[in-house]
């Protein structure tokens, strides 16, 4: 059924998804630090505490391990918690509960239980947060069987994927790039779902495939517009789902374009780009390649404070343009 579209920011789209879930299912609760009257560090939960009350929108102490663990235990026993980490970096304090417990309990118990918990993680650099408030840790979590890991890039997707995540019987980690919170886009009204296992083709092109995720999808699209002025047509695959990982969409695109550039904000070595590359290298698409695969990732350093350095630490539009240009050189 077609729904009316409006322009919403990414943060508003998240809030709308949370409100729909809170309205529809009384088992849903939100937990996190300062998500109540404060409205969340990034004003994502906003006024939800006024609309749904303190028993549904629950401020936790600065106690990430117990907060996440309570969410896991509650999820095991009939509640559907959505736990917000104030910054994804703080999830390291709760890694034990996420990785040793949430991800494994269903398996360890022979499939007898579900752990329907959602962990929301504001992520990435660009706001001067420096080394402990700016990391991109998606690859860590995507390495763990039992977790589902998503990184939506548009207001439309984040609402539909978050609603899917809350309804999902398994633990889902949602990476939300902080620079996206104010980005606007069309969002349908009401409840709709976007799958947690499919990449999205954002732009068609014949000359190379750029696989990106989160904020990098937007930078890749900007780069593609510049490249188009030079006669280079880039195809953009927005990965969206990191676990499960949609290799098929990448392989199909590379067979068409014969060139592959992977762009991601996390540290380059042993990051998302390695998996993107390997999926192509292990498939029939390798025979179609007309150039070596390129990866553009974060530098091998913590995220620095100085804006000059911070910008230099992760791929920017001009970096993508330059990499794509060199990759497309010599094309037929």
């Amino acid at each position: 059924m077609p729904q009316a579209m409006r322009e919403l920011t990414f943060a508003e789209a998240i809030r709308e998804a949370l409100a729909i879930a809170l309205e529809a299912d009384e088992r849903v609760v939100l937990m996190g630090e300062d998500i109540g009257v404060y409205g969340g560090a990034f004003q994502v939960t906003g006024d939800l505490v006024e609309r749904f009350g303190e028993n549904r929108v629950i401020d936790t102490p600065i106690s990430e391990l117990a907060g996440a663990g309570v969410a896991v235990g509650a999820a095991l026993t009939g509640t559907r918690p959505v736990y917000e980490f104030q910054f994804s970096d703080f999830s390291m304090l709760a890694m034990e509960q996420i990785v040793n417990q949430a991800a494994k309990i269903r398996y360890m118990l022979g499939g007898a239980v579900h752990v329907p918990v959602v962990f929301r993680m504001p992520t990435g650099s660009g706001l001067g947060g420096a080394a402990q408030h700016s990391q991109s840790l998606e690859a860590w979590f995507a390495h763990v069987p039992g977790l589902k890991v998503i990184e939506p890039s548009t207001p439309h997707d984040v609402k539909g994927m978050l609603l899917s995540a809350i309804a999902d019987p398994d633990p889902v980690i949602v990476f939300e790039h902080k620079l996206l919170y104010k980005v606007k886009g069309p969002v349908p009204e009401g409840d709709y779902r976007v799958a947690l296992d499919k990449a999205a083709l954002r732009r068609e092109g014949r000359d190379l495939t750029i696989v990106a995720t989160g904020i990098m999808t937007h930078r890749a699209l900007e780069a593609a517009a510049i490249l188009a002025g030079e006669g280079v047509e880039a195809e953009i695959v927005d990965l969206r789902c990191l676990r499960p990982f949609d290799g098929e969409t990448i392989v199909a695109s590379v067979k068409k374009t014969t060139r592959l550039l992977a762009v991601y904000e996390g540290v380059k070595t042993l990051g998302l780009g390695a998996e993107v590359s390997a999926r192509v290298a292990e498939s029939e698409a390798i025979d179609y390649l007309d150039a070596p695969i390129l990866r553009l990732g974060g530098v091998e350093a913590p995220i620095p404070y100085s804006p000059v350095l911070e910008k230099a630490a992760v791929p920017q539009v001009e970096d993508i343009v330059a990499a794509a240009r060199s990759l497309a050189q010599g094309r037929a």
Partner: protein, 342 residues
């Protein structure tokens, strides 16, 4: 001191408070569970010696009164989280021995279909959310179960079992604090068996008693003799009633002793033979049997019948487990995720 018992069978024995709550059949049921635990642990040891099992194994011989005593006020609607030394809690919460021993041997018929083993043994149908390989990890999960219970408003409670080793983990402190500020229906049960592997509690913990730490989180801290069933059970009844009434959490410290040491790698180099022997004199099962006989709640014949029944039950469980099929290698990734609903 006045004699509170006043029973026709035992006019000269003081009746501990818990026996005003328990019938003769309750006491015999508790004894049956304690024997099941002891026999299970002995069978586990024997299976290892015979080469039937190969993985992690932590035995709770000597700690039966704590597991069974704590679970006395609980029903299947109440949750527990357990520890790596979790066989006793699982049996005390009502698990059947056949699927439990099958799990110990890693069989498809096991409680966890062979995926969890000794260290992750669980029985969610009876409220046991699982043993845990990570020290202290069960505390926040139990607090989460209590959170669900409070939201449902059905009077259910959650119990977190943990060892003395867990009381220096951040999870312990964070969990007690959270449970207290939210007044959740949870009981924290520290089985202080004196050693975290080889490290004596006096070397690991700044407070003289684990229960002393309760005051920092504004909840009652209760110390009981973990080898005395009546003391443990009474403390559990009081804490569970408090939790069900909405008055919040309690920390119980049960002082006990691990007769078999940490695990099969343990060479007992950190404790003396005399110490081990002195605790063997305080066997919780023998003490419980003597008490219920003295109180007229059971006869020696009834106790012997239970022992025999449990031996037969355990032998049948071992036989079932040994003859059960192993999981299929092709199923190694089954149940990582829930099946798709569409």
């Amino acid at each position: 001191m006045p004699d509170r018992a006043g029973g026709a069978h035992a006019p000269h024995v003081n009746r501990p408070a818990v026996y005003f709550r328990l019938s003769s059949s309750d006491a015999l049921d508790a004894l049956r569970r304690m024997h099941r635990i002891r026999r299970f642990e002995e069978a586990a040891e024997e299976a290892y010696v015979r080469g039937l099992s190969y993985g992690a194994m932590h035995l709770s011989i000597g700690q039966e009164a704590t597991a069974v005593g704590v679970c006395m006020p609980l029903t299947d609607a109440d949750a527990i989280t357990s520890t790596h030394r979790g066989h006793g809690h699982c049996i005390a919460k009502g698990a059947q021995l056949k699927p439990m021993f099958a799990e110990f041997l890693g069989k498809e018929t096991g409680l966890c279909k062979g995926r969890g083993g000794s260290m992750h043994i669980a029985d969610p149908a009876r409220g046991n959310l699982g043993a845990n390989g990570i020290v202290g990890a069960g505390l926040p999960i139990a607090v989460g179960a209590a959170f669900s219970g409070k939201r449902r408003g059905d009077g259910s409670v959650a119990v977190a079992f943990f060892g003395d080793g867990a009381n220096n983990e951040g999870a312990f402190h964070e969990s007690l604090n959270l449970a207290s500020i939210w007044k959740l229906p949870v009981v924290f049960v520290c089985e202080n068996n004196q050693y975290a592997m080889s490290t004596a509690i006096s070397r690991s913990t700044a407070a003289p008693n684990v229960a002393d730490r309760a005051s920092a989180y504004a909840m009652p801290g209760v110390i009981v003799d973990g080898n005395t069933f009546a003391d443990v059970a009474e403390a559990s009844f009081v804490a569970v009633e408090r939790a069900r009434a909405g008055d919040g959490p309690t920390l119980i410290e049960a002082k006990t002793y691990g007769a078999r040491g940490h695990s099969r790698s343990d060479r007992n180099r950190y404790r003396s033979r005399e110490e081990i022997e002195s605790w063997k004199q305080r066997d919780p099962i023998a003490a419980f049997e003597a008490e219920i006989v003295a109180l007229g709640l059971a006869s020696r014949e009834e106790i012997e019948a239970i022992e025999n029944e449990v031996r037969a039950e355990m032998a049948a469980a071992v036989d079932f487990a040994v003859k059960s099929p192993a999981p299929r290698p092709s199923d190694v990734t089954r149940d990582v995720y829930s099946p798709r609903e569409d």
